[in-house]
């Protein structure tokens, strides 16, 4: 657990970067610091490992005041990931990852074995270990940065916008893998971002900071979206809060309908017969995984992949209300496709049924 007690940082010249911040980052959870530029989020993060010294107040890690510890020893016990990756260009990937174990005095063989292990853990090809950072893509470099921070298995990790320098598709992958990794490792993580969507996606709790380093609200993402404390937080969260908040509401049992399906490669006549007058028919593969919608009325010959309408998103049974509603809204037939954990079709749901489920939720706001 990391506890800030009335922490203030005033820079020479009088700028208050952080003003009287008190908050607790619980053990084993991700606490996200988010806010506009100049809100002191990075300063707050860097005060935890004393890259910046607080002007007043205390920061404790598991009850120990960090101000009383040797800064270098403190830092060796805390994972640190930064936006630019900060890899050492003159060292191979393996040697980069092994940095902290070697600083801690592990023998080379053990440090290397650990590095090799972590390389795979973060989803990188083991052959990359012998390369140098400039031979890797930005996304790969960020993974190495995460592996390097994990190398000595620190209980606490500090992450300063680690995914913001990569393109959106890679960012999403990195976020998903980060969540998977965290579900295995259960580190105490403080994560800084300026991107509220990232904050809401990754955080177990989110601290919204306003300019001058004052805490505007500390809450779970669902609570934040449904019950922003004031106009500043509401504005910062942006539009579609109601809809985005549904991402945190697990869908109850929805009234699913059986959906007639055709196999990919069937003739259009077969498809038209199965559609039985409906304009759209769902196409699946042998494992009943939905592939897309086809419109038999405008097609001839056999149905192949090029004919499929791919606009519809697919939701998982037991997933969020947001995913289920989006599946219905995005489907050309207006029937949202739901699958099980094996990606096999379970049935379809219509938007009014999802809305009815949303309406039936207990009033008020989530805790």
């Amino acid at each position: 657990m990391i506890r800030f007690t009335d922490v203030t940082k005033v820079y020479p010249g009088g700028t208050t970067a952080v003003g009287g911040l008190s908050l607790t980052a619980p053990t084993g959870q991700i606490t996200v610091l988010v806010g506009p530029s100049g809100c002191g989020k990075t300063t707050s993060l860097r005060m935890i490992n004393r890259m910046i010294e607080p002007t007043s107040g205390t920061i404790e890690i598991d009850g120990r005041d960090t101000g009383t510890l040797d800064p270098n020893e403190l830092r060796r016990g805390i994972g640190y990931v930064i936006q630019s990756g900060g890899l050492f260009p003159h060292r191979t990937i393996l040697d980069n990852i092994a940095t902290v174990p070697l600083l801690l005095g592990w023998d080379r063989a053990r440090a290397r074995a650990r590095a090799q292990d972590l390389l795979e853990r973060v989803g990188l090809d083991p052959v990359l270990g012998k390369r140098y950072p400039n031979q890797l893509s930005g996304g790969q470099q960020q993974r190495v940065g995460v592996a390097r921070a994990l190398a000595a298995d620190p209980p606490v990790m500090l992450m300063d916008e680690p995914f913001s320098a990569v393109d959106p598709v890679v960012r999403e992958q990195l976020q998903d893998e980060f969540l998977r990794l965290q579900s295995e490792l259960g580190k105490t993580i403080v994560f800084v971002t300026h991107d509220i969507d990232e904050a809401v996606k990754l955080g177990d709790q989110v601290a919204v900071l306003r300019v001058g380093g004052r805490l505007a609200q500390l809450a779970s993402p669902a609570k934040l979206l449904s019950d922003p404390h004031d106009d500043f937080v509401a504005d910062f969260l942006g539009r579609d809060r109601g809809y985005r908040g549904l991402a945190f509401a697990e869908a109850p049992e929805l009234p699913l309908r059986d959906e007639p399906v055709v196999l990919l490669g069937s003739s259009v006549e077969q498809a038209a017969a199965i559609a039985a007058g409906d304009r759209w028919v769902l196409v699946v593969d042998e494992a009943r995984a939905p592939l897309g919608w086809a419109e038999p009325g405008v097609l001839t010959g056999v149905i192949d992949r090029d004919h499929l309408h791919r606009g519809g998103t697919v939701a998982r049974v037991g997933g969020s209300l947001r995913a289920a509603l989006d599946a219905a809204l995005s489907s050309p037939s207006r029937r949202g496709v739901l699958v099980d954990d094996a990606d096999s079709l379970v049935g379809t749901v219509r938007a009014p049924d999802v809305l009815a489920a949303i309406e039936r939720r207990p009033d008020g706001v989530p805790a």
Partner: protein, 243 residues
Amino acid sequence: MNLLWRWLTDPASWEGSAGIPARVAEHLAYSASTLVLAALIGIPLGLWIGHTGRGRVLVVNLVNGMRSVPTLGLLFAAVLVLGPLLGGDIAFLVPSIFVLVLLAVPPILAGAYAGVEGVDPGARDAARGMGMSSREVLFRVEVPCALPLIFSGLRSAALQVIATATLAASVSLGGLGRFLIDGQAYRDYGQMAGGALLVAVLAMLVDLVFAVVQRLVVSPGLAPARTSRRAARRAAAAALSPT
């Protein structure tokens, strides 16, 4: 051309304490001692300034200022001032080396400083954040990353020193400059041209030695163009080979 060839092929040119091998050895000795002294001054100072960020103004002014100093004039001034204090052979040697060192320090200092200064701030931040002490950051991250520029400072200093060490002959010392000075005195143009040619060849050979050492010492991770081109070639070869 003819005169040059005659001088170079004359066995007498290669013999004795005034022969080509002996003069080359003298020239190398002056140059090497100059470079060692200049490196001992310039590298630590450059690393310190780059690491701490203190004294940047000094670097800029020193480097620019030194470029405008007339070497020959400085040499005579140094001999006049220092010579009487020393006496004997070193009365000329010390002022010469002193002036050459003054010439060699600025490029070496600038190289070391720019090398450390240019290290990716992210790498430096990460190094500190992982718990490296200031000294560890310098020697494990900044210096290895600065090596290409440290080498380029050393190489440009070496070229300047080898070329300028010919001036030592003008204050009655040895080295390849003797062929230039004596050649001119005796109107032996073959000898003059030969001396000039030897200086140029020596400078190129020394630079080549530095280039080889640099390749061995500098991490391949710091040479993006070469490694990535090689990687691209390997990838292309893999794509073309039937599997």
